[in-house]
């Protein structure tokens, strides 16, 4: 369960070119639900998601994760929480080029000092689940869009997070791949994970598996439809 209390995010605070991305957002999101953040570009979806996922700190306000306040935690603990709780999927996939798919999947877990053999096995199992284990040793730049997407999903899942955050995941995909992606999201939701997606793609938010749609406009919530 994630709670946001009066979250505000501004850039270049105090300077003449101050830009406020989020103007006081408050909401609570239930676990095991799929939520879509909808809105035009510039509405603050990405900024909001990055704060929820502990990638950035709000300028003011509080964020609570299962009752624990995380906004004032030092970086070290924030990173630990981020590692354990959140799995990210980026619009551009953001896989590390020049490196194999397998290594990309294992990367998030490298700093934990987990034994190499068990980590490798887990990564291979994930790649197997998403049916790209045969490309495990290929460099990611040689993968097709759909294959890269699945590698990105595996990477997001390697630390067994309870929340999946996806930022415009279908923006660079065709219909077939978009549908495949949402199928996978459905599966993960069935496994008990919280799904947070930022998207303005109807293929995403019109699905029945989406429990709630939050509309954002100019950094504010625009009503909260379902």
């Amino acid at each position: 369960m994630i709670e946001l209390v009066n979250i505000r995010k501004s850039f270049n605070t105090g300077k003449p070119n101050e830009f406020v991305a989020i103007h006081g957002v408050s909401l609570s999101i239930d676990s095991e639900k799929a939520t879509v953040f909808r809105g035009p570009s510039g509405s603050g979806k990405t900024t909001l998601l990055s704060m929820i996922g502990c990638l950035a700190r709000p300028t003011s306000g509080r964020i609570r994760l299962n009752g624990q306040e995380i906004t004032s935690l030092p970086e070290r603990f924030l990173t630990e929480i981020r590692q354990k709780t959140f799995g990210f999927m980026f619009q551009q996939f953001n896989l590390i080029k020049g490196v194999t798919a397998l290594e990309n999947v294992m990367l998030p877990a490298y700093p934990s000092g987990e034994k190499h053999s068990s980590l490798k096995r887990r990564a291979m199992d994930l790649l197997d689940t998403f049916k790209i284990s045969q490309k495990a040793l290929s460099n990611v730049e040689w993968l097709s869009g759909g294959e890269a997407q699945r590698v990105a999903i595996c990477r997001a899942l390697i630390n067994n997070p309870s929340v999946i955050i996806a930022d415009e995941p279908t923006a660079n995909l065709d219909t077939k791949l978009s549908r495949e992606f949402m199928e996978i999201m459905g599966r993960l939701k069935g496994e008990g994970k919280m799904i947070l997606i930022a998207s303005h793609d109807p293929l995403v938010y019109e699905l029945s598996l989406i429990d709630r749609i939050i509309d954002l406009r100019d950094g504010r919530i625009d009503g909260s439809g379902s």
């Binding site: 970086e75 070290r76 990173t79 980026f90 590390i96 998030p108 877990a109 000092g113 190499h116």
Partner: protein, 377 residues
């Protein structure tokens, strides 16, 4: 502890993958860096080895040498001076030395001719150093022509060559008999090139030298300790060529570090953002850069030093030959015993690794501490 080791290993895994992405560039970097270290280490090894040998073998050079000076020129010394020197208390033996330089117009080489009591040397028969043998392609049984002071040609037969083990001191020597020497150079009887004296108590050497100076004001004295000091100070850092080599190396060093320290490319920045977004901490990113610097500098260091050792002690510093030979025709084959000064080697290792790593990490510091949401934009 195990976790810490595994963490390092994982990060090294990724560092190697990362370096392999730009195989060519990194290989070139390592090669250049290794070359810089190779040159520096070669110089260090070579100079240290020669200095050490000099300090050992020159212990057996004469205690005191007396030269006669006239109008600023080194002149022949009357052998009778020796009798007067012998009377000084503290001096146990005085010998006269007959030696000089012979310019061989055939080869353009300079030889040092010395009169010697060596049994192989007699009238008409000489013993030559290995360098002379090479320059003239002469061996035992061959004859070498010499031009005397009056233009006459004197044939001298090579009886033997000096053992090439001692080339460092004997390469250009030609040992002749006294009569042949005087015939060649018009040195009258009763005169010698200079005198050598044995001083009983080594601590008294300077004092004895002073006595000689007072007794024979037209002479110059050279002490054994001064000979040793000459070679201790030879090849010192202030020598012109050495400064040039060192400056060149320093420049190369700085250029390499500059490439790293001049900030990160946008691609590198983006990658660090990705790593942080997927869960890497600032310390992990810094470790990554640390190992990157370590891998590159250690590889260069090891190959540079090992190759330098092979270069100096297995191939007799063949790369230095043009510099050391200069305009000389004769050049000794350096077979010096390896000597490694651990302090200098440790300094070299430190200088090769630490600044490079520092230069690698510092530009990353700022980027690594930035919020990882940069990658979301």
């Amino acid at each position: 502890m195990e976790k810490w080791i595994e963490r390092q290993k994982h990060i090294i895994d990724f560092t190697v993958s990362s370096l392999l992405r730009r195989r060519g560039k990194n290989a070139a970097l390592i090669t250049v860096y290794a070359f810089v270290i190779f040159m520096l280490a070669s110089v260090v090894f070579f100079v240290q080895a020669i200095k050490r040998e000099a300090s050992i073998i020159l212990q057996d050079s004469p205690d005191l040498i007396i030269q006669r000076m006239s109008a600023g020129r080194h002149e022949l010394i009357p052998v009778s001076y020796g009798d007067r020197i012998r009377s000084i208390r503290g001096i146990s033996a005085v010998k006269s030395r007959l030696w000089g330089y012979y310019y061989d117009s055939v080869t353009g080489a300079n030889y040092t001719l010395m009169v010697s009591q060596d049994p192989r040397v007699s009238a008409g028969r000489i013993v030559i150093g290995a360098g002379v043998a090479r320059a003239r392609i002469a061996f035992a049984g061959d004859t070498i022509e010499f031009r005397a002071y009056d233009g006459a040609i004197i044939d001298l037969e090579v009886k033997d060559t000096i053992n090439s083990q001692s080339e460092l001191v004997s390469s250009d020597l030609i040992l002749v008999s006294g009569s042949d020497f005087r015939r060649l150079f018009r040195v009258p009887a009763g005169y010698a090139t200079d005198l050598t004296a044995k001083v009983r108590n080594p601590k008294e050497q300077p004092m004895v030298a002073l006595k000689v100076a007072t007794l024979l004001p037209d002479t110059r004295q050279i002490l054994k300790e001064e000979i040793l000091r000459t070679y201790d100070a030879a090849f010192n850092w202030r020598g012109g060529m050495i400064i040039v080599i060192l400056s060149g190396m320093l420049m190369a060093f700085i250029i390499l570090a500059w490439d790293k320290a001049s900030g990160l490319s946008s691609e590198e920045r983006r990658e660090i953002g990705i790593l942080k977004a997927i869960g890497w901490e600032t310390s992990d990113v810094l470790l990554l850069k640390f190992w990157e610097g370590m891998i590159l500098s250690l590889s260069s260091l090891f190959s540079g030093i090992l190759l330098a050792y092979a270069h100096v002690f297995f191939t007799s510093s063949f790369l230095f030959e043009p510099a050391l030979k200069g305009w000389a025709v004769l050049y000794p084959r350096f077979k010096v015993a390896p000597f490694i000064d651990p302090f200098q080697l440790a300094t070299l290792c430190f200088l090769a690794v630490v600044p490079y790593i520092v230069a690698t990490i510092i530009p990353v510091w700022r980027t690594a501490t930035v919020d990882p949401d940069s990658v979301m934009r």
